[in-house]
């Protein structure tokens, strides 16, 4: 492993990582937009690919491809209360599991890459939807606190027609 990752191995253990992922998941489930937004770094990428999961978020269509500025716009729209696709909001609960610290050198030096699976149930008047997929996170220690620099969600249904995805996945 590279030196920065080794540094992380000594400074961040799996338990801390899991606690961070669970907290991020809870903020998303409970539509705690302020707390969720505060997790992100300024160079954030929140990405849900469509079609080929290894596609290019710049040249190809994605379900979501938000930089930090667009994350802010998305959340501002939700906070208006008139984002009708999420007003009334979906009831959500997700399980995040199979958490692994991965050997990946993407992102900034020292970023920690973490993989996990999730299953999520969404309930709204339209009916219930089950969402599932694989999430890759890049976490960064900033002033002793873990922050989120990158979150890529590859849905198991990424190449199928998806229902509206207006909550935070």
């Amino acid at each position: 492993m590279t030196a920065p990752a080794t540094t992380h191995e000594t400074s961040v253990d799996l338990r801390q990582v899991e606690q961070f992922l669970y907290r991020e998941a809870r903020y998303a489930d409970e539509h705690d937009y302020d707390a969720w937004e505060a997790l992100w770094t300024d160079d954030a990428l929140y990405w849900v690919p469509a079609g080929a999961p290894e596609g290019d978020p710049v040249q190809q269509m994605s379900v979501i491809s938000d930089n930090r500025s667009r994350i802010a716009t998305r959340l501002k729209q939700l906070r208006t209360g008139k984002r009708y696709a999420q007003s009334p909001p979906s009831h959500l609960r997700r399980i995040v599991s199979n958490v692994e610290i991965l050997d990946d050198e993407g992102g900034e030096p020292g970023d920690l890459t973490v993989g996990a699976n999730f299953v999520l149930v969404e309930s709204r008047e339209r009916g219930n939807e089950m969402w599932a997929g694989r999430t890759t996170y890049r976490l960064r220690l900033v002033d002793g606190q873990l922050r989120l620099a990158y979150k890529k969600v590859v849905l198991v249904d990424h190449d199928r027609a998806l229902p509206t995805l207006s909550f935070l996945i």
Binding site: V58, M61, R83, A85, T164
Partner: protein, 428 residues
């Protein structure tokens, strides 16, 4: 009038005036969106008869290229053969009806059915079948893949018709062809490309709620007020009560929101794309080099906002294809328009489009929420009708003989229903 109506549309199935009763000049009946029998008739009389948009030639640029497409629930493979001709083949083996193509796209000169190994050339011809003695030898069977019998294109947009005869594509498109021309002329090389990949949005609503909404200039301020307000978008003003934009019935069920009067008023190149020319200097320079003084009009007027009956919608930089699956379900396929020779603009169009359309789009997720609520609403018993009278009293005929209304009038919907009715009432 309500008292004289039958309880459900089913009871009038065999009555020749059924559609005249359900589709009136300023209102349409709720059962048109909910009755499975009407949906079955639509498949036969619209989707499997008239010209339907299927794909774009840029999706199969090389000989051997293929891509899975659809006409309503029909699974269609668009191929390009070794001579460069584009075919629309049905994904069904002539032997036992199995699917012969399972990949979403690729390059192959033949398709091999996995079930018994029959193979087909990419023009649909049967190439061979294993253990051929069981059929009396090679080349004994006059079979092939099913084909969409008529295939034609305009500006690279490929349409198919299951009817062996009838109006030509040019007759079907009519004035809408000019809107595709207006889109293509924004490319420095005169060509649109649909190469950015597709989002597929499952929608629990009847396809007509989508088609009607595409040029409904009444809804944006309300449905999209949340995103307009947080981004300070000028789009809302284009569809306000004071807008000089017009809604035009282009005939043939096609309609547009013609925003050019607003853009001409501001006379700012690239305003139609929500930007300024200094943000896309290479593109603007190339267009001026190519068109000379005529470039100003092109760069000011921008891209069309047009619904081409029954399933192709172009909203400036976004392109949508409506695929009906059942009376209450459809899929919206969406992508970013790309212009050949305009990489600088193309990247921005993908970025803007990803933010706006698809399942998580800051515009389309809300439209889709409306479609799905609307589908539940129209199933309720009263007041039975949907009102489409907005602007009927102030509608007028433009210099070219088209009916036009203001930016927020339901002129496009009335044109849609008039054409729909003529197709549904046509002799079988």
């Amino acid at each position: 009038m309500t008292a004289t109506l039958p309880e459900t549309a089913h009871e009038q199935t065999d009555k020749p005036d059924r559609y005249a009763r359900l589709i009136q000049p300023t209102r349409v009946h709720g059962s048109l969106y909910t009755d499975p029998e009407i949906f079955a008739e639509e498949l036969e009389r619209i989707w499997y008869r008239t010209w339907v948009y299927v794909g774009h030639v840029s999706e199969v640029p090389e000989p051997g290229d293929y891509v899975r497409k659809n006409i309503g629930p029909q699974d269609v493979v668009m191929t390009r053969d070794r001579d460069g001709e584009v075919h629309l083949l049905l994904n069904r083996c002539a032997h036992r009806g199995n699917l012969v193509c399972d990949a979403p796209s690729g390059n192959s000169n033949s398709f091999r059915c996995p079930y018994h190994g029959w193979t087909y050339r990419n023009n649909g011809d049967l190439l061979g079948y294993p253990y051929n003695k069981g059929y009396g030898g090679k080349g004994k069977l006059a079979l092939g893949l099913g084909r969409v019998p008529r295939v034609a294109s305009h500006q690279g947009f490929v349409f198919g018709s299951f009817a062996p005869g009838g109006p030509t594509l040019a007759e079907h498109l009519g004035a809408a062809a000019g809107e595709l021309d207006r889109l293509a002329r924004l490319s420095p090389e005169g060509e649109v490309e649909l190469t950015a990949g597709w989002l597929k949005h499952r929608t629990r609503a009847n396809w007509k709620l989508l088609a009607e909404n595409e040029t409904d200039g009444y809804h944006p301020q309300f449905v999209h007020g949340s995103i307009f307000s947080v981004t300070g978008s000028p789009i809302g003003a284009l569809y306000s009560d004071n807008s000089t934009a017009v809604t035009r019935d282009l005939g043939g069920g096609h309609s547009e929101n013609d925003l050019r009067p607003e853009f001409r008023h501001f006379a700012e190149p690239m305003r139609w794309f929500g930007t300024t020319e200094d943000r896309v200097p290479q593109y603007v320079a190339r267009m001026r080099e190519l068109h000379g003084p005529a470039a100003e009009e092109i760069l000011i007027e921008g891209s069309p906002h047009v619904m081409i009956f029954p399933n192709l919608f172009i909203a400036e930089i976004q392109l949508f294809v409506i695929q009906p699956l059942s009376v209450g379900e459809c899929v919206q396929h969406s992508t970013a328009v790309q212009f050949k020779g305009a990489p600088e603009l193309n990247r921005r169009m993908v970025s803007q489009c990803v933010g706006s359309v698809g399942p998580a789009g800051m515009l389309l997720a809300d439209d889709t929420e409306m479609y799905e609520r609307n589908q539940r609403g129209v199933a309720l018993r009263e007041p039975e009708w949907l009102d489409i009278r907005r602007g009927v009293e102030r509608e007028r005929t433009d210099d070219n003989g088209f009916r036009i209304g203001t930016a927020t009038d339901e002129t496009g919907m009335r044109g849609f229903w008039s054409h729909y009715r003529s197709l549904m009432e046509a002799d079988k």
